[in-house]
């Protein structure tokens, strides 16, 4: 399956939920914010939300800034 993750094309396994994805790519899933195709998906829905071919995902978190 091809998705765009944080601006880059990535191949991932099919039948992944958001939770699977976050756990695969993020060391600390607790502080991650997920935006799927322009919509913010809350933590509670990650386990039930499936990632589909062609999806655009942004995984962001808070970092230092001025």
């Amino acid at each position: 399956m091809n998705i765009t993750l944080n601006g880059r094309l990535k191949k991932i396994n099919p039948a992944m939920t958001l939770r699977n994805l976050v756990e695969q790519f993020c060391k600390n899933p607790n502080h991650v914010i997920v935006e799927l195709n322009g919509t913010i998906i809350k933590n509670e829905r990650w386990a039930s939300q499936e990632v589909q071919d062609g999806d655009t995902l942004e995984l962001v978190n808070l970092v230092g800034g001025g």
Partner: protein, 264 residues
């Protein structure tokens, strides 16, 4: 280590929250998360700015929030936004992070000087306050714009002192003074503050708070400099509260203007 700089003063109130320390610390560019944590502790700051960024998928990064005490208010900035719509998107993401809804609007469409776009900032303020965010807009000190920001619901106004990271201090001093005189929400001087003395100067002239980032993060000993900033800001505030005497011009022995009042 002095962590409190207590002076007889009313707290700074923003959107109902009281701050006893008028030093706002930016958390960018620190060499280590430990240095950041020490700087927060040494200065006693009660509000820090953070940014939103894509997670670095290649490297493990400890989340910055773990280095910020729970009682410190997080002010998420919209850095990266080049227009109001992007600022709104970042704000919504920040809110979804669960760390509150205090947003510092930073809309910059200029990679050379990093000057804020005042007009997009006004638009962004309107859009964000409509969605319930507490908005602290970073702006170039223009009185008309400041008024519009207040009208749009800004909780404070944050005029730049000089260009971000320039350490030039209060190049915009006279225009910040105008905002202090005319605008009724707290004025937080932000950007370009390179030395504690510059921060003290801002407070002496009546600013309500000062934000510094680069100066502290880049210092040889960030925690000490952060402490110096907090002390300087408290000193400047105390000086302002004691109503500095104005410079007096000397009078002549004769009274050409008012002598007539004493003639018979």
């Amino acid at each position: 280590m002095i962590t409190k700089t207590e002076i007889p003063d009313a707290p700074l109130t923003i959107a109902g929250k009281k701050f006893h320390n008028r030093f706002f610390l930016g958390t960018g560019k620190f060499r280590s998360k430990a240095a950041l944590a020490e700087s927060i502790a040494a200065s006693g700051t009660e509000i820090v700015t953070v940014a939103l960024r894509r997670i670095d998928l290649e490297h493990h990064e400890e989340n910055i929030v773990e280095y910020i005490p729970k009682n410190v208010t997080l002010l998420v900035n919209t850095s990266g936004a080049r227009n109001a719509q992007e600022a709104l998107r970042i704000a919504r993401l920040a809110k979804a992070s669960g760390y509150g809804n205090w947003i510092k609007i930073e809309v910059i469409n200029d990679s050379k000087y990093l000057l804020p776009d005042n007009y997009e900032t006004i638009k962004a303020t309107e859009m964000l306050t409509a969605e319930g965010f507490i908005v602290l807009p970073y702006m170039f000190p223009d009185l008309y714009v400041a008024r519009e920001l207040v009208k749009a619901g800004a909780a404070t106004v944050m005029p730049l002192g000089s260009l971000i990271g320039s350490h030039q201090g209060l190049k915009a001093k006279e225009f910040i003074k105008i905002l202090i005189n005319e605008i009724d929400v707290p004025i937080v001087v932000d950007a370009g503050i390179g030395r504690p003395s510059q921060a003290a100067e801002a407070m002496e002239m009546g600013a309500d708070a000062v934000l510094a980032n680069t100066a502290v993060a880049a210092a040889g000993n960030p925690a000490q400099l952060a402490q110096a900033f907090a002390l300087a800001i408290a000193a400047g505030r105390l000086a302002y509260l004691s109503k500095l005497p104005s410079a007096q011009s000397h009078a002549d022995a004769s009274s050409p203007l008012t002598g007539f009042l004493f003639e018979q």
